[in-house]
Symmetry: C2
Subunit: 432 residues, 2 copies
């Protein structure tokens, strides 16, 4: 079937994929979420996954939301936070509905700084808040204590304003050259961002130098130290870029391309370009994981995640043959990584002309996950992810397998929405 989709869907998918190919993400600013995130209010907290009512959030994700309320000064303590959330005095909203993407639990508050990435080819913007640092205990992993609080304040008061000043001074930083090169340097830009972080640091260093000479030497020293210390600094930049890329392909009539994947504590969910803002919700994913010393599968908890926006636009597991060093972080073998990467081409509508994988003879990364191909092949989009533990903090990393059910539901809805296309019909994989 996928060789000959009905003309309307094929043409719509080409339009969607064209947006993915031509997207041109540029880091243009760093600002307070309240000032730039659409629909953000002082009493809003954004969290990962399809929107739930507050009582449905449980475990680490509920904790992260309540902790965020405390960090923001919206609540005095956990009982106070829970009461105000229950009463709706503190609002919980889905990141994706505000042009944001959340890392793990993904909590955003109004005062948090966000990276502002503009897609120069389309004019739309994507946002992401900041990497908290290399501690395994981080608010986005459902942890909160004096150290976590201090890290968040350091990001807000030192890293973000200094970096923002540097970016503005430089007139914005094009991200595509960095992401393109990082794929040639062992990154797949999701679970491995070591090269991209280095390239990013090198690109902003001249601007930071000028800031230091203008009197901000102390802050610049701290920013350089943070950039040198953390191999994941670029992850959030890449996520904002991926959101800006993916959103530009959303809302194209008749297109069966996935434009968002996310999970909350209860369900994995996807959005499809031609199916509006409906989340197609499925069961929770499974994972092939490698745990840090002292942890096991029994400690794993799903507390949300939207970093898979990177897979949605062809990075992460869709480029894992570019990142063999990941074996030591998330397990597996080089051969398995190549095979998994190749499988992603089966469910993708195109290959990116500029983002390339050296091991695969510079083949472009697979882009444009087509729900028709997923349902047809039963191959789901794999995702390279960090894993959260029941007691908070990161406990490992792995390759996540989303459920097929949400893709099947989306495909049914596609057939209902576009009956003339003869799509959405039950697919018999055996007959292919």
């Amino acid at each position: 079937m996928h060789a000959t989709p009905p003309p309307s869907r094929a043409s719509a998918n080409r339009s969607a994929v064209k947006r993915l190919r031509e997207a041109d993400p540029v880091l243009v600013d760093v600002q307070r979420a309240l000032d730039v995130v659409p629909g953000m209010t002082p009493d809003t907290i954004l969290t990962s996954g399809a929107q739930l009512d507050w009582p449905q959030y449980t475990g680490g994700q509920a904790r992260a939301i309540a902790y965020a309320a405390i960090f923001e000064g919206l609540a005095a303590d956990m009982p106070d936070a829970a009461a105000k959330l229950r009463a709706g005095h503190i609002k919980v909203r889905a990141c994706h509905d505000h042009s944001c993407v959340g890392s793990v639990a993904g909590v955003y508050t109004a005062s948090m700084p966000v990276l502002v990435v503009e897609n120069a080819a389309n004019g739309n913007r994507g946002f992401c808040n900041f990497y908290e640092g290399d501690s395994r205990r981080r608010l986005n992993y459902g942890s909160y204590d004096a150290d976590v609080h201090r890290s968040l304040c350091f990001v807000r008061d030192v890293i973000a304003p200094t970096l923002g000043a540097a970016i503005r001074r430089g007139g914005g930083l094009p991200l595509k050259p960095i992401m393109k090169r990082a794929l040639h340097m062992g990154d797949e830009l999701h679970s491995r961002n070591a090269a991209a972080t280095l390239l990013f640091a090198r690109a902003v260093t001249p601007m930071l130098l000028e800031l230091a000479l203008d009197g901000a030497a102390t802050q610049v020293r701290q920013v350089l130290q943070a950039l040198a210390g953390g191999d994941y600094f670029f992850l959030r930049v890449g996520m904002a870029a991926a959101k800006a890329i993916a959103d530009s392909a959303h809302g194209i009539e008749g297109a069966s391309i996935v434009t968002a994947m996310a999970w909350n504590c209860r369900e994995f969910a996807i959005r499809v370009s031609g199916l509006g803002d409906t989340w197609f919700r499925g069961s929770l994913p499974t994972v092939q994981a490698r745990f840090f010393e002292g942890f096991s599968m029994a400690d794993l908890e799903w507390i949300g995640g939207e970093s898979v926006i990177l897979e949605t636009v062809g990075f992460g597991a869709f480029a894992q043959a570019a990142a063999f060093p990941l074996q030591s972080y998330q397990g597996g073998s080089a051969e398995a990584m190549v095979q998994m990467n190749l499988a992603m081409y089966r469910i993708s509508a195109d290959e990116h002309p500029d983002y390339q994988i050296p091991y695969l003879a510079f083949r472009g990364t697979p882009i444009g996950i087509d729900i028709a191909r997923v349902v047809e092949t039963s191959v789901v989009p794999l995702c390279d992810v960090g894993l959260a533990g029941r007691s908070g903090g990161q406990i490992g990393a792995g390759v996540l397998t989303p459920p097929l059910d949400c893709f099947v539901d989306a495909w049914k809805a596609f057939g209902q929405r576009y009956p003339d296309s003869n799509d959405g019909r039950p697919l018999n994989v055996q007959s292919e």
Copy 2:
């Protein structure tokens, strides 16, 4: 045979390889060659390969030597340089005999700055002069004009003193962590140094910032620009490190491990740990090349080269499965790169415990090229190299295949020098 070498050779080789494993190269300074290179004099020019008498140097290598004399102010023009070289008023010496290694023609003059790398595990030092920049026309490729002269002066007057001050301010820069990480980021540290250059730049940036704040802002801006502009800046740092590593394994009684490979315009040559400073000279190498647009094999000229010191200690072609992006630079396929890399294990006595290749499940790089294994298997040590053209300048890159003859000669000499070991006997590969 190689499974059971005679006890004395086996034990000597273990000692030699132990030096390779334990070497700990640290960039400790940048100084004028005259001030730090052993035996350097104002009228000495160092060049690549086993020592020849002046009249035997021809083509691009002879030109590079004469140009170097002009650059240094030892001669007014080419006829003057030739006359003084012929008369011995300007002396030509082999880099390797002065703890230096030459890139391509490898010319050093007294006023040129050199990177000073100390092997902290052994106390010995290796030196290398500086990368001239990204132009294809460079003195080390036998080119000389106003631009080449300007680049050499810029390196001497701006890059070297500023970097030297930064290195001294930082108390020296350990190189092993940079080289180890770069192998996980697409470098094999010979024909690809993109990651190592980035890591090096990041490591020196804090020191450069302090220099800028102390009044050297103009120079620091230029150094940052040079580091950002050139993906090969680290090559010379790595070569000095490799020389410091290789020399520490040289001179071990009874060891059949190669400690230097080099070529001049006439011959490829090797040195062996247990065979003193004798060069075993063979024919010129062959090469599988990829040429820049407009060039072909007919334009190729051998004008010297000692960057293969990197292969001698387990980098370059010995780590090419770490650097798949090289396909676009020197040709070949990922599969061929893996096979060539695996072949290098057959002629190596050990695997490095710390320098690892992610694609090969983090297998250590092959180290300790054993002439016995080379002769036995007829597998020669492959080398990733840049290629020089007849009319000067770089014209491409490729994988070089040294001749077998110099290894056979060295093996015969080994048998004469160590008759009790029953080594050096003619080897019948078929009988293995």
